[in-house]
Symmetry: C2
Subunit: 468 residues, 2 copies
Amino acid sequence: MLNLDVYLNLRDGDTIAAIATPPGEGGISVIRISGQDSFAVADRVFVGKSSLSASPSHTAHFGKIVDGEGNYVDEVVALTFKNPNSYTCEDVVEVSCHGGYIVTQKVLGMILTAGARAAEPGEFTKRAFLNGRLDLSQAEAVGDLIHSKSEAAYRSSLRQLSGELSREIKGVRDELLNLASLLELELDFSEEDVEFANRKSLEGRLTDALTVVDGLLSSYAVGRVYKEGVRVTIAGKPNAGKSSILNALLREDRAIVSSIPGTTRDTISESVVIDGIVFRLTDTAGLRETADVIERQGVDRAQKEAEQGDILLLVLDLSENYYNGIDPLYSKLERICGAAGIKVIKVWNKLDIHRSGAPRLPDEGRVFYVSALTGEGIEALRKGLLSAVLAADLGETSVVVTSARHRDALSRAGKSLRYSLETLRSGRSGEFVAMDLRAGLNALGEITGEITTDDILNNIFSKFCIGK
Amino acid sequence: MLNLDVYLNLRDGDTIAAIATPPGEGGISVIRISGQDSFAVADRVFVGKSSLSASPSHTAHFGKIVDGEGNYVDEVVALTFKNPNSYTCEDVVEVSCHGGYIVTQKVLGMILTAGARAAEPGEFTKRAFLNGRLDLSQAEAVGDLIHSKSEAAYRSSLRQLSGELSREIKGVRDELLNLASLLELELDFSEEDVEFANRKSLEGRLTDALTVVDGLLSSYAVGRVYKEGVRVTIAGKPNAGKSSILNALLREDRAIVSSIPGTTRDTISESVVIDGIVFRLTDTAGLRETADVIERQGVDRAQKEAEQGDILLLVLDLSENYYNGIDPLYSKLERICGAAGIKVIKVWNKLDIHRSGAPRLPDEGRVFYVSALTGEGIEALRKGLLSAVLAADLGETSVVVTSARHRDALSRAGKSLRYSLETLRSGRSGEFVAMDLRAGLNALGEITGEITTDDILNNIFSKFCIGK
């Protein structure tokens, strides 16, 4: 059920070109040309031993880019990919030129003058999807792979690119299609009162399908963590050691994190990578700026900030709180956040000073005793942060949903299947069961792109970078 | 006279790898591998239809990068270049992977683990030079091409890359070699008192060679302007309209300039591109910050800043200076800068207010009447800025020297040839003439790299980016 309009548009469509490599200065830049005129366009500017049109697919050719007046623009290597054996399944030429800003713009400019149109963001990958080389979830994985900022995000997008999610979705869809066909066949023979589909077996198979959908849906909690990281809010009195704990957590990762482009570092927000997952730790301004921290206003502000996050890290000072007791406002903040579904981790600091007699309070499973000074307990805290977001161990082979769009489609599919199951159980006509089944099938089809609209596609590909 | 040690080192040398495309996120990144083990290294991590070692040169292969445990790292296209038909003249494999930070580092990491060494800055181009694919001036042009920030810089580096300068140098060297051989042949037969080289003709040929060297040397004034741009210091009273003139000059180019990466823009320094040449205009802090501007200290500071520049742009206010006369300290600044070889351009502003009766002072060729408000005269000023630095029109085909290293070598060559000419004219033995000729030959040889040392090479290539 490929979108036929788009498909036809594309087949008659123009030839596009863009710089495919990152912007900036480097040894080489690559300009990608795709479309039915790629070879003709490239041959208008490329002068080599032989024309690119006459060259076999998958061959590299040294030559020069020359403008209309015969002026030499750059020395390049041009690479040929004849359809359908290319990234887009169209005729593709890739031109490697010198990787400077001016020279790359010059070469691109020449190619555009020679008849190509500047590609829109994600347009190459969009064509790869429309031509059936990738399904939609794989196409989205290309964008995620490029933008992944952590090992976990990289791993999960790579698995999605390899078609793991697609196969899982396809399995459920195939099963649902079978069930729908059975029900619809039954309708065709309704006069004869035949029952092709045994109700009990139908219910079993539908329940199994729903279990898979629900499983995928629940994997999003982890998938989001993989893809987007975890937002941790730190709250506590100024002398409790919030920043020392932040620094202790950062110690090993500072080099790794700072080398990832695009992770901004400022005084109140720092990123820690634990087992490939990015934790962005933000100090609560509300609790930080006032001397008598846990006053009414402070809690309000801390709560507001904590609600933006996934985890609240409450830092308590063993040396102070042991004798004075815990400020009741701490508990209040904890209670409010807990009720809002935010995971609360309590960290008792200064274990170096108060080793003996640490208050063994009722253990809610997320209490840690550390010394930010000596580093004692910090490793346990790292593991605690990790297990707070990866409570369900998914194992190596489980498929993880990382996209909000997929979660939304799965959620709609689940709803439809549940309706369908209810209708089935209520003994109503197969017609109604099939109707909801179809709705579920369509929702699942949106994930892999069997069912799609221009809006969905534009929304997905406009987020890509130009040249992909 | 290739550096044999380096050459031999290289032949036995290791296989290097680096990311050849700019850092950051894009559709694709390219990792380049060069050296005798390139194919073996690539085959250790690449899984495609056939091994790269067994594939013909200049062919592209779709496949996967896989780690030691069979885990899939990325989908890639690997490109084969068998020696000597590659950028470095060695066996080269170029791997195009997805252009994300993490994924590119992963693939590079796999390749390094598989036996390649991380390449040093410029090491690929250094190998291209050492293996004779490029001469040294061409290798330098690669770096200049990548870093060129203006059309003029791009054009001149491209011409140097195409071997224009090399051919010019080679022409002079060949001629000097002939002359030296003639003189040395004469020495071999000195017993017989033969004169192979007619002194008059020798003098003529030597003079011609010197003229070429001096011509190249003087082209550096323009070459430096092409490559590095022009530093313009603006001085004048606050109300004279310095910033309006700056803005009027900037008007058309703001978009162009701001789109070039690496051109910093702050309140006191702005870049204007005129005919592809970058003019960096700096406001003089000294004259700007004091109310009564042209006092002793102001002139000193303005002078100090102007001396860092190529042009001093003195802005005068027609409406004020016409009646009150020019502050003598203006003239003083002008005189001091003129004496220091800095070109002074006088701009009378506010022509809109004082059209009639503009003081037609003695025209030193660099006086302009403008209205920053209406834009009148600004185009003439742009042309004036341009002609101040391109006084000598070099035409389209002249070779331009853009590198300080080349200028230095040419200057030493010129000195030697002048000595040689003097010695010849003084009637002394051909032996002494030939000695200076040889020194000149060596100096010229440094430009193209016939004569070179490790120090020269390291100095040149360490300025390159990694991956080139």
